[in-house]
Symmetry: C4
Subunit: 124 residues, 4 copies
């Protein structure tokens, strides 16, 4: 199988500010790391859920066959950017089985803090 | 499906003190991030278990349809607050399938440390 | 169900030293947080696996009904202590369904780093 | 069972540099911690996937019966090293059931940050 076709990341929060805010590598960010180990491209459709407004999306992306995509939420902008300092959650639906892991780098205070977890996977 | 109706977080500990104790964003805290991606409101009933006393709860909360709730344990107070510097675990039962992720921010020493994990989900 | 009867933590490493080494709360340590949400006491039998020697254990512990145990690996001593600065893994077998989450605090350099994950659960 | 025979780590990134770069214990690194709690040696075949090139591998390793292997990705070199500062994902196939947990230490800025998660397991 090599994965599932729907993945849910319940946590989501992109911190704002700090001394590395102009450095794309070190500034606070979140990623959804998506592995497509199969032999067909995986078409992703991503919805972002909030506490107090309608969901944003779908964001459409493709992960080529036998490739990984470390998707940065702070680089999404179509149909709209994901706001910083805002609670959110994510649902990723894929045309092919994939595996998703969620990571945050928090650099607000200068030093680094990290979190990561396997997302919740199920088949549609 | 979009989730499960019972989620268990075996780890739980809210650190006390530190230089950010008066800042709700940066002070040490724990969250249970709950996504309800479905089309019905999810009624949550939460029990908090301790090492040496009877459980606290139920705490009653609702996550509206198509919304996320980043529940902070340090803001629970009905029927009672969750004490700091105390080992605990959490069981969340939901009337609708949801997904739960657990996160801690530890700011006791001023700089930040983070942990996060998908909770353990099962259907009742 | 409220859990599984066998849990595996593949990661294990207790760092040594640092400025908080004499403070049980802040010194580097690892925990296996075990929730027994059921109505019977859970008898735990724990084996610790190493890279280059036979496993240690069984360590025998009990989690009372409706209680959590945040087990610190640096406090185990029967049949033998778990050495610091040594790679290990853990298998926890329980007489009752429980849920296990693994956490490390690394304070070697003075500031804090945290990791945590749900363990791998299966039924015996 | 004591595990699964295929494990996927979707996140992968080995940071570069920092004041501990010459210290194997404290320099930034990633590990796949593999427990083989069974009574037969487990033969591992590991493929590493990238964003923009063909996968590397297979890397062939063995975990003896009743032993753990905390595999460091920065020590792999056959058939080729895993590059630093590069997004990757990992698929581990095992001849015997094992359990895999993924950990990163990020020491770029001197202080330590940690992340860890259970990998995604399935049977082949």
């Amino acid at each position: 199988m090599l994965g599932k076709t729907r993945w849910i990341i319940a946590e989501g929060y992109i911190p704002q500010g700090g001394p590395h805010a102009d450095d794309p590598t070190l500034r606070s960010h979140e990623t959804a790391c998506v592995l497509n180990a199969g032999h067909q491209p995986a078409a992703l459709s991503i919805m972002v859920y909030f506490a107090d407004r309608e969901p944003a999306g779908p964001y459409q992306l493709e992960v080529p066959a036998r490739r990984t995509l470390h998707l940065r939420f702070d680089e999404l902008d179509d149909p709209e950017p994901v706001p910083r300092e805002t609670d959110y959650s994510t649902v990723i639906e894929s045309s092919q089985p994939v595996v998703v892991q969620h990571t945050r780098l928090d650099a607000r205070l200068g030093s680094l803090a990290l979190l990561s977890t396997l997302a919740y996977g199920e088949d549609r």
